[in-house]
Assembly symmetry: C2
């Protein structure tokens, strides 16, 4: 694929998502945060380039975070923040960035207000951040933590979404436009039509997703672009190559 | 965490999972294969160490696969095999391993029997494999492809599972045993109990998973080990630290 930078397109911002969680790798929990974030970023016009799931281990987290922070415009982590022994995300990020872990005075004050005389050492761990971290969304009960281009969110889906909702406007860019064509022909016949369309419209993102034993269609074809006119042209080109009877529905 | 190799435990085999799919990164499809594979491997006694989701790009696939093949005992890929332009997994793996893509004679014969006079160039792409690939589960309509320690499965969940079911016994090892304790105390209080238990039983895998606004419990604690006696001892130790009223249920 020709990189977008050589095609003259507006270059979308990129994101990488790191899920920190033994519970996902051991099959006890199915993650919902990555799929949510991918949908949100698509709507905002941000290109998610990679998702990775790694265990709750300081060294691994540090290595992964520092690579992502170099490779993508935005990095999101999910999970591993909290008061227990397996909450090592902050320590991992600090290690990866080569900075110490410090107690953030504003977070300590929040915890003190929240727990009052029940504030203990375990709960104070929730005030620990990599040195240099900033707080976002301060109107939430507990703010979101950002350091450089890394956004550190908790794994609990309700809180993950609450925090993302509070900061999402800072990521808004040129949205992606999408057309889906559901066809009753198989990929073996469809492939040539797609290849011919892509020769004329190489900048459209085209996906082909077969569905087994669906009563109505065999393949969902998706066309996407940040340029709505270009998308319409590629769509019309492909439609002209298909027989009217091939198409089940368009979305 | 002390690596298992220094603890004198039997060292479990490790696995890495690579999902190849723009459709996941762009939020159009929620993957089900990784969660399925994590559950299966846990039952089989294999330790999944990493999941990654990357786009349908040859260079990226090659780099990822060769790193995984070096780092883990078993590598599974999901997606990107088929007749269309976005099916570049085989090419990516070949690139990563430094071997050419070849048409496998047995796969060509299968396709010829399946499609007869409708066999075309697009469908013949499904016979392409990295040189040196082996076929497994030959009694399936279409076999599974393995090269070195890499198992190449299609993204369609029904076929992914069918192929894995057909080959899973080759991965069976010492299973992990799991105990879950659901408690009505929060992590801020629980943390100290867990830390004390872990000082006595450092080899047990312990997770702490808070649940928001559940009517019955606040946190699910999980203890795991491949050694059932050690697990029972760690479990009894933790139970003795909790007040009887703290525990909602045990699984």
């Amino acid at each position: 694929m020709t990189p977008a930078s050589l095609r003259g397109d507006p270059l979308p911002k990129t994101a990488g998502i790191i899920l920190i969680g033994n519970e996902i790798l051991s099959g006890k929990v199915t993650d919902a945060n990555a799929a949510y974030l991918c949908r949100e970023f698509r709507t905002l016009g941000v290109d998610v380039r990679r998702i990775t799931v790694i265990p709750d281990e300081v060294e691994l987290i540090g290595k992964e975070v520092s690579e992502f922070a170099r490779d993508y415009d935005y990095v999101f982590t999910s999970g591993g923040v909290g008061p227990t022994h397996d909450d090592v995300t902050m320590e991992g990020i600090a290690r990866g960035l080569g900075v110490p872990v410090v107690r953030h005075p504003e977070l300590v004050a929040r915890l003190r207000a929240l727990y009052q005389e029940h504030l203990n050492e375990a709960r104070l761990r929730m005030a620990e951040v990599p040195e240099g971290a900033e707080l976002l969304a301060s109107d939430l009960r507990f703010p979101a933590v950002m350091i450089r281009n890394i956004y550190v969110l908790p794994g609990i889906p309700e809180i993950f979404r609450e925090k993302f909702e509070a900061i999402k406007e800072r990521f808004r860019s040129v949205p992606f436009h999408l057309k889906s064509i559901y066809v009753r022909i198989g990929e073996g016949v469809l492939a040539q039509h797609l290849n011919e369309m892509l020769q004329r419209f190489p900048r459209v993102q085209c996906g082909s997703y077969p569905k087994l034993s669906h009563p109505e269609y065999k393949v969902r074809v998706t066309l996407e672009s940040q340029d709505p006119l270009y998308l319409e042209q590629a769509f019309a080109d492909l439609m002209a190559r298909l027989s009217p009877g091939d198409v089940v529905k368009i979305e």
